[in-house]
């Protein structure tokens, strides 16, 4: 890219991630991206589960057993939280696409509420899932 010539003073760079103190909007934003990447991989797990259901009972029960194991449950807990967090973030983005909800103090509150709400809804979802069986 911009190679510095020998003897030339290196040009000033704009401050980067490591310089800034993490603020709520920044945290919510990067979590949105990370959860998106997680869901991308999680969709493959969903495909696998569906494929197993279409294959036969023995294979489905084996795959279902993996998802039902404690490590599988932790993975699914993370997956469901990621889904909820990403969806709230997505709705926020859609609203902000129209130019609304952009004031800086409000966006900070919104980011905090976003993270808190994602955790609360995940807990409620799992309570519902456990209540089913």
């Amino acid at each position: 890219m911009n190679e510095t010539k020998t003897g030339m003073k290196s040009r000033p760079l704009s401050p980067h991630l490591s310089i800034y103190k993490p603020i709520p909007t920044m945290v919510a934003s990067i979590i949105h991206r990370i959860t998106g990447i997680g869901l991308y991989l999680g969709m493959f797990l969903f495909a696998w589960w569906l494929f197993a259901a279409a294959t036969n009972q023995a294979y489905f029960e084996w795959v279902n057993g993996l998802f039902g194991s404690w490590i599988g449950r932790i993975l699914l807990l993370g997956f469901s939280w990621a889904l909820i967090h990403h969806m709230i973030g997505g709705i926020k983005h859609l609203v902000q696409d129209t130019g609304r909800a952009m004031e800086k103090n409000f966006t900070t509150k919104l980011a905090k509420a976003h993270i808190a709400l994602s955790v609360i809804l995940t807990v409620l979802l799992w309570m519902a899932a456990y209540a089913v069986r």
Binding site: G36, I37, A47, L50, A53, A54, L94, L125, A129
Partner: protein
């Protein structure tokens, strides 16, 4: 003075030749994903710990098959666009970037093939 022709202005496509299509499809699938994912969550939660016969019955019903078809198309399109942006943002080497964007397409198509095969097999029996 501008060197742009009136036609290029009207088309409004930049050097990438696809204008705002990526942005628009990202939003279109995002909106579609809201009801689809909510129904999907309901479906999965209702099948937690269910015996195989019940899972098979539910997944092979016409309405579920149609739902799963729409859900998969919208989610797969959305995640392909999203991952492409992540790659374009963080991978700077031209060759690596192009290879990863290709890999992204292949991964999404493979996952989609797996899902569509499963949906059709469940729905039409075999």
């Amino acid at each position: 003075m501008t060197m742009r022709t009136p036609l290029s202005k009207v088309r409004g496509l930049g050097s990438a030749k696809d204008g705002t299509e990526h942005f628009w499809h990202q939003r279109l699938t995002a909106v579609a994903n809201i009801p689809l994912v909510l129904i999907g969550l309901y479906l999965v939660v209702s099948l937690v710990g269910a015996p195989y016969d019940e899972v098979y019955q539910t997944l092979s019903s016409p309405l579920t098959a149609i739902f799963l078809f729409l859900f998969s198309l919208s989610v797969l399109a959305h995640m392909k666009l999203g991952m492409q942006v992540v790659i374009e943002d963080y991978v700077h080497g031209e060759l690596n970037k192009v290879l990863l964007v290709m890999l992204n397409t292949f991964f999404v198509l493979f996952t989609g093939a797996l899902i569509l095969f499963a949906i059709f097999k469940l729905a039409f029996g075999a």
